[in-house]
Point group: C2
Chain length 557, copies 2
Amino acid sequence: MNVNGDDRYVIGVDFGTLSGRAVVVRVSDGAELGSAVHEYSFGAVETRLPATGAALPPHWALQVPEDWRAVLREAVPKAVAAAQVPASKVIGIATDFTACTILPTTSDGTPLCELDEFVGRPHAYAKLWKHHAAQPHADRINATAEARGEPWLARYGGRISSEWQFAKGLQLLEEDPEIYARADRFIEAADWIIWQLCGVETRNVCTAGYKGIHTNGEYPSREFLAALNPDFAGFVDDKLRHPLAPLGGRAGGLTAQAAGWTGLPEGIAVAVGNVDAHVTAPAADAVRPGQMVMIMGTSTCHVMVSDQLSEVPGMCGVVRDGIVPGLWGYEAGQSGVGDIFAWFVDNSVPRSYAEEAERLGVSLHEHLTDLAAAQPVGAHGLVALDWHNGNRSVLVDHDLSGVIVGQTIATRAEEQYRALIEATAFGTRTIVETFEAAGVPVTEIIVAGGLLRNAFLLQVYSDVLRRPLSVIGSDQGPALGSAMHAAVAAGAYPDIHAAAAAMGKVNRDVYTPDTAKSDAYDALYAEYTALHDYFGRGGNDVLHRLRRLKVRAGGAA
Amino acid sequence: MNVNGDDRYVIGVDFGTLSGRAVVVRVSDGAELGSAVHEYSFGAVETRLPATGAALPPHWALQVPEDWRAVLREAVPKAVAAAQVPASKVIGIATDFTACTILPTTSDGTPLCELDEFVGRPHAYAKLWKHHAAQPHADRINATAEARGEPWLARYGGRISSEWQFAKGLQLLEEDPEIYARADRFIEAADWIIWQLCGVETRNVCTAGYKGIHTNGEYPSREFLAALNPDFAGFVDDKLRHPLAPLGGRAGGLTAQAAGWTGLPEGIAVAVGNVDAHVTAPAADAVRPGQMVMIMGTSTCHVMVSDQLSEVPGMCGVVRDGIVPGLWGYEAGQSGVGDIFAWFVDNSVPRSYAEEAERLGVSLHEHLTDLAAAQPVGAHGLVALDWHNGNRSVLVDHDLSGVIVGQTIATRAEEQYRALIEATAFGTRTIVETFEAAGVPVTEIIVAGGLLRNAFLLQVYSDVLRRPLSVIGSDQGPALGSAMHAAVAAGAYPDIHAAAAAMGKVNRDVYTPDTAKSDAYDALYAEYTALHDYFGRGGNDVLHRLRRLKVRAGGAA
């Protein structure tokens, strides 16, 4: 890389589920000069509490905050070293996090799990985004909100997720009231890490809006909270409430302690916290109304800004300033994408395919993709519903499950694999069409995330959507997006629009639809839609009944 | 075995798809004293004509008659030797065959494919039961019969199969008129083999009724045949018509030539031809009204006699004297059973299971069965439709295909395997309930066939059906049933009822339903029925549309 003495740099740090990544980015043009990854020691804690070895109940998922500090100590200095730039030229740092990942702390930000007396208490730890043990609490939140006609419910597609702040907080109160009482704060990890960096407590508008039910300047009322549980009435006032800080704002200056951890200059700008999916939009220079960014990995997250407020059925949320200041930020999602393909590869592909892939020196995914790509559209005679991990948008129903129709004794593994890929593309089309039908135009689609490496899959999406697909020009989009926010917080750019224009990276129209294939997919999409509505909108509630039978019989929920 | 000098013996020969089996049976009690199997040299000819190497079109399946004669020459003497009985004590021989397996011959019974001039002509060979290239001809037969209101159509559940005599005959006429013209006979292999044994041409009532549309003493009319094709008007009169012979009747005496092949005494009784499934009923001593025999293998065939005539929706056929003289013989079927499980094992089970099965020293089927058996009913959260090979009864629709609902990313191979087993049990329950709803009571169910070895599967059937299951006491049921007909033809018993009482073998109530499991299955069966009617009776015709898309795209039909 060409390093110029006048260049200045920013650091973006992306905190994921199993590791954290730091990237050093040049302020002038967004060049990524060096990066480093630190794998967490504890990772996602899902079976046993590390401190005691005690078994966790089903559907729990925790994290250990020390894992996150280690990223600051390990990955940041390594990234700076790899970039071969002087640390003195770094002018700001910003982070993005999984969400809702949330933890109880003391009033000075100490995680309760770090107090000796609470190391053996699961509720003292951070609850990871995919902690799903608060579903009964979410169910009560939704039932109560519906019964009371709470106006904010429609802003979340009609349903509050068990993954979010209020469900996790209510579970904490009801299952470990002592920890709840001792928690001076219940704070998103996205904000907690900023507190660690600059010593100043902040709350970012993004997680407050998408995960904390903060709408029109208000949290849910004390009356609503008391209706859930009288002891929960003070949840907002006692644990959550704090002035909100805008994305790209300066939370404070890097403390001496954090400067010691990172090797960065004391006092440089620390940006307000942010979320991995949302921060990817500016990384792809997609901060104008109508530009939808799809971050495609195990699941897919759709983020888009708009100058119009609309209550899109089944969206995850719409939040003012939630992605970019001054615009409405929309989020939608598909709860199963890459993890459906992984499930299929792990559970439904015969030995002969594994051996052939080994012989060819390719992964089983690549082998199946190559075989699938050779089929004409519709030749497999299959249609699937992509609900193996539930449906986030537009049905907002995590109790749905997968469906596949059309199998014969001639059906082969690559045909089912292709049908599953197509099903996720049909799911995306359903979301895009729902946005447009609700009066929120989608003018461009930009893809980011791990599934970018599957060119066949992206061509299927382009054909199914009848749209060109643009592709982010970075394979570390979230960290790049964070770095841009650091540049804004440091004053190098007046706002995220200017930073995105200078530092964002996108390749336009990398995939373009093949009209003949699009026509053929239309017929399959019509079948998908009919089955989607039959199984998902009450035509036949068999999927819910099967799940209840399964739970009653002792199967995994 | 205890061989007594006064004992007499009969031979039953079962002609299957890939081999023929001869069994030596003691007349007095049905003891099976020795057997031998002869694998066909040519087997099922499905890709290339052996004589020329020429490729066959899709969906063709032929056989070579010399394969059948070889069974008489090879298997019969070996079975007698294995039984260690004197051939001079053998008093009769009978056979059963796959059906409809049919061939064109000269007036003396010489197969046209054995004439030098026709060895290269595919239509000169026997068309095996599973030859499926006459579907367009079957479609025309059904459309024409419906349009003309032919009364016999209801006797076949409303639909004539492409596997049967008229579809195969019409295809012969239209695709190779020269062979059609040269065919003095178009004759079931079941009758042809008897002609070979005794030198007398006969036509058995069973194949004439079930495969040849012979109802109320009549074949379809010349007018109907002419409506299909003017040149087809004489099909019955010229190729098929012959006095019908009753099951268990004596067709003639063993010829000197056939005595030479078999080593049996010249002149012993040769019984009228019969069909593998139907002949199994007396082998299981199931010749009384209401006793349903299920022959379970790659597919399942249900046969039952009754004193009542009813047009059961979706049955394969009801034929007077078609199983047992003096009673109505009903046949129904499930077109995919064992072959669905085989498809799943071959195409949807990951390498780790195959390796574990090897380590345990069991087959993959056994390994999956053991894992599946450990699950509580309903714990998999799945329901499947067993239509991967179409649906024979009660929908009579070979263009349907499979469905499975309820998969999640936690679903494992053994759960899907179990759901497929259950689906076939639900298919059986649908058939049994349809018979009873049509006024034909089913008082006992007796199982025969290769799937007998899977005790878990049979327990599922018993639980799903809420009925005890009896089990045939022989693993060579068809050959035993044939031997009984030989005993009747030889005059050792006055009729098949007496022979079945003395020689038939059944173990009563080997499987009995578990009430708690039956209750749990009722909930799953209700879901099966709802999906069955939705996908199979026009609620959503997606399966037919997908098949058309597939054919248009060039996929396998």
